[in-house]
């Protein structure tokens, strides 16, 4: 009979190496990163433009993301449909987009078509047509998206939460724009944003996958070497709002059968020297399945299908947020449990085992998250965006391994504040209003656009 009473011991650990990365900068300032992988006949190409929605003016919110959407509405000599046809003929998929920190173009392709795909990739990144009829189409699509989001509780909660933390400035308005801002965006705004920010000295290109680096470099040089330099744009800074004490913001959805809860405040930037301590602390608190908040709300109480906490590490301090959808009847209890967990993590009450398990998860999971060419490209993209050192992935385990209980307590006290939190509830006000009142925090009722309801 097999002895099942004890978990089997591991064998000796096998070494893991992040693929070698070839780095170079072209004469026009474009940074190029190349990584060879061997597990599939696929190649991933990524362009990173180090400017995103953080450059949007509040009254013109949406310019960065609409510019990105327009990249593949015609580029080089191809119109939008021809471009999609030619991408399809190469067995490729293409995507473009923007977030707060950056804008992106990505193309994944069968390796045998990498040469032709690079031409299209370069056209989209450096020679988009940004046509008037494309803008009108994308604008209409965006306005319809915004309309649909008015019925999506998680979207309503996220928008209100950001607005309450950052007000009308960057990080506060939606990256995708608003019903008011999107109609005001003109072709000039889009073309100006493109001209100012899509310049090689504000960009990096990454090619990973089944392609020799020397060959990949030739392709990049050939396709992107003549991309004209510009002026590196300035970096804007979001301005946080002052939060004086816990406040509940209740947004009514009369038909809701769940409350979407968001609890949090402003967090910390990606460049923080406490990044590793915060990563461990958050994973233990609510970042993974076996974290305190999920075990409490889901596995102990059955309040939710899943509860999570996260720090949005951006170029400037993004939010710290706990998110959970819970059934109406346990809304107050869930808020109470989350706040209790936020208080407990600050007391330094951390068991040896949970600290060990969490660190060991973070140290061990890395190889499983970088199996594909596209995974590797994403990691390199992060490295470029946040200026991480070249040995970052090699030193990651060591940096996580060094985190102690004292570090957890220190960063929890410094970066988590359960007494100055914004608490957003999108749910059935009639059912949850009264119980929430017993928590003793002021309740402000808002409509889904954030206007106070008298």
């Amino acid at each position: 009979m097999t002895d099942r009473t004890k978990a089997p011991l591991p064998g000796p650990p096998r070494p893991y190496h992040f693929p070698d990365v070839t780095r170079t900068t072209l004469a026009n300032g474009l940074r190029v990163l190349l990584a060879r992988t061997h597990n599939a006949p696929l190649v991933s190409m990524r362009a990173l433009i180090r400017s995103g929605a953080d450059h949007d003016q509040p009254e013109l919110a949406g310019v960065a993301s609409i510019t990105a959407d327009l990249l593949d509405e015609g580029a080089g000599s191809r119109d939008a449909i021809r471009l999609a046809e030619d991408i399809g003929l190469l067995g490729a998929t293409m995507g473009t987009g923007a977030d707060w920190d950056a804008s992106y173009a990505s193309l994944d392709v069968l390796a045998r078509y990498a040469n032709q795909a690079m031409e299209i990739f370069a056209d989209v990144t450096t020679r988009p047509q940004l046509p008037a009829e494309g803008l009108e189409r994308v604008r209409a699509e965006r306005l319809n998206d915004l309309l649909q989001q008015r019925d999506e509780p998680s979207m309503i909660a996220a928008k209100r939460f950001s607005g309450l933390l950052y007000g009308k400035g960057p990080y506060g308005f939606p990256m995708s724009g608003t019903m008011e801002s999107v109609p005001k965006i003109g072709l000039d705004h889009v073309r100006d944003f493109y001209r100012q920010h899509y310049v090689p000295n504000n960009a990096s290109v990454i090619v990973s996958g089944d392609l020799e680096p020397e060959h990949a470099l030739k392709l990049v040089e050939g396709a992107l070497g003549d991309w004209g330099r510009g002026t590196e744009p300035p970096r804007p800074s979001p301005i946080p709002k002052e939060i004086e004490g816990n406040r509940i913001y209740l947004i009514d959805r009369p038909a809701a059968v769940q409350s979407e809860i968001r609890i949090g405040h402003i967090g910390v930037s990606r460049s923080s020297s406490d990044y590793f301590a915060l990563s461990v602390m958050n994973a233990l608190l609510g970042g993974i399945f076996n974290s305190r908040i999920n075990l409490n709300l889901r596995e102990k109480h059955g309040y939710t299908y899943g509860a999570r906490s996260m720090f949005a590490f951006r170029r400037s301090a993004g939010p710290f947020v706990v998110a959970a959808p819970v059934r109406n009847e346990v809304t107050k209890e869930s808020v109470h449990e989350v706040l209790s967990e936020l208080r407990r993590i600050r007391t330094g009450d951390v068991e040896d085992r949970e600290l060990h398990d969490t660190k060991s998860y973070l140290m061990g999971v890395f190889p499983a998250t970088v199996q594909t060419a596209s995974d590797i490209a994403s990691r390199l993209l992060d490295m470029e965006l946040y200026g991480l050192p070249e040995n970052y992935f090699d030193r990651y385990r060591e940096n996580i391994g060094a985190i102690s209980k004292a570090d957890i307590e220190r960063v929890a006290k410094k970066y988590i504040d359960p007494d100055r939190a914004v608490i957003v509830i999108v749910g059935n006000a009639k059912q949850v209003r009264e119980p929430l009142g017993t928590l003793g925090y002021p309740i402000h009722e808002l409509d889904i656009d954030g206007n106070a309801i008298a």
Partner: protein, 420 residues
């Protein structure tokens, strides 16, 4: 070509090994050949609820300890339930292969002693929240459920979604859990696939050690349900709190793997996959009457389905959208699929398959699927052949034969307060 080693243990457990030392990882993947199609009326949602229970501990593994064992060594894990199967999987650093096999064998062979009413009650609540989060509290959330209700008769068990109904979830008992486990969770109803960084002989020895003493089930209830023809289009109009009207269609197809299912897969790409595909190009790009369109087929074993949907732009009626879809289908049937479209559709199938094989987790999962559905893991190496051999005429014929009103269910979601 993937190099596969396949064999069966004495108790009927099917094993497929794919040794690959690219990454220092192992992906362990179990496909139990049971899903919501094996549920009985009154207990819909049970296969999925049961899946949750299998994470709540077994004789030698405490509640939530399964997750802890895997995560605390840097592993990732989950499970999922569909109509035909339930899968459980973890990807671990490769020196923890034995740990993963120990965990999976414990819940396969020694689950019942750890079962309690309390754990069951908690997971029932969790699953109800899952249903609320993904179905009841979001726009269009019940669309799939409504479409299945319409497209199948109650005697065919694709008639309900795997999440099941609130009422049935509430009615499930601990005895149901015991019976379900005893009936279905046996080694001879399971395929174990292991992909990654191990020596095949070592893996075989460990699998023998952990799984061979688990008793087989012997016989399993036979699946005999047959889908009857619809006897005409089935339609439903439903008003709900959504902003934009949306049309959902389900066209019946033969089961997964049949030639016409493969052609249906290619057809769905021709219809809606990118801006150049037919419905996208005309409805979204040229006429700009639709906000989005989609067409795809599901990997189902007992009967196939091609799903289609389109959302109307603000101010556009759903009739306009439906007429435009039908016009494009008629055009495709009359003029035929072009050679360029064939190349693009085949390429897309090829790149999707390559992506599935690229990481160990997904590779193990599709090998498990091919072994379960087709009794042959080698299908993973030949899967694209029928796609490569498909002709434009095949696709056009499938469109003509299957994309007809008598073969579909149509569900219209309209905003509240608008005339239907």
């Amino acid at each position: 070509m993937l190099n596969l080693e396949q064999y069966e243990l004495g108790n009927g457990l099917r094993v497929v090994l794919n040794e690959d030392h690219t990454s220092p990882l192992v992906a362990i993947n179990l496909w139990y050949h049971v899903g919501s199609k094996n549920e009985r009326p009154g207990r819909t949602g049970f296969a999925h609820l049961f899946e949750h229970m299998l994470f709540s501990g077994s004789e030698h593994v405490g509640n939530n300890e399964h997750f802890r064992y895997v995560q605390s060594v840097g592993g990732v894990l989950n499970g999922s339930t569909s109509f035909d199967r339930t899968n459980y999987y973890e990807t671990l650093p490769s020196n923890y292969l034995a740990l993963g096999l120990w965990l999976e064998s414990d819940r396969m062979g020694f689950f019942l002693p750890a079962l309690t009413q309390e754990k069951f009650d908690i997971q029932r609540e969790v699953v109800k929240e899952e249903r609320r989060q993904h179905y009841d509290n979001v726009p269009y959330g019940t669309s799939f459920e409504r479409l299945l209700n319409l497209a199948y008769d109650p005697d065919f068990p694709y008639q309900w979604p795997t999440i099941g109904s609130m009422e049935d979830l509430g009615a499930a008992s601990l005895d149901d859990v015991r019976n379900f486990f005893t009936t279905w969770y046996r080694p001879d109803n399971c395929t174990l696939t292991v992909v990654g960084d191990f020596a095949t002989d070592d893996a075989k020895r460990l699998i023998e050690e952990y799984f061979s003493e688990i008793a087989p089930g012997g016989t399993f209830p036979e699946f005999t349900a047959e889908r009857k023809p619809l006897g005409g289009e089935r339609r439903e109009v439903f008003t709900s709190p959504v902003q934009l009207p949306r049309i959902y269609r389900l066209y019946h197809l033969p089961k997964m793997g049949a030639p016409d299912w493969i052609y249906g897969d290619l057809l769905s790409t021709v219809l809606a996959a990118d801006k150049a595909s037919r419905l996208d190009r005309v409805l979204v790009h040229e006429k700009q009457i639709a906000q989005d369109v989609a067409a795809y087929i599901l990997p189902t074993e007992a009967s196939g389905m091609l799903m289609m949907q389109a959302t109307a732009r603000e101010g556009v009626s759903i009739e306009t959208i439906e007429a435009a879809i039908d016009e494009e289908i008629a055009r495709l049937v009359n003029d035929g699929v072009t050679e360029d479209e064939m190349i693009r559709a085949r390429n897309r199938a090829e790149i999707e398959h390559a992506h599935h094989l690229e990481n160990y987790d997904e590779r193990a999962d599709i090998i498990g699927m091919f072994t379960t559905f087709f009794d042959d893991p080698q299908v993973v190496n030949t899967w694209l052949e029928p796609y490569e051999n498909a002709t434009a005429a095949d696709i056009t014929r499938v469109a003509r034969e299957y994309l007809v009103a008598e073969n579909r269910a149509t569900s219209l979601f309209l905003p509240e307060g608008q005339p239907s």
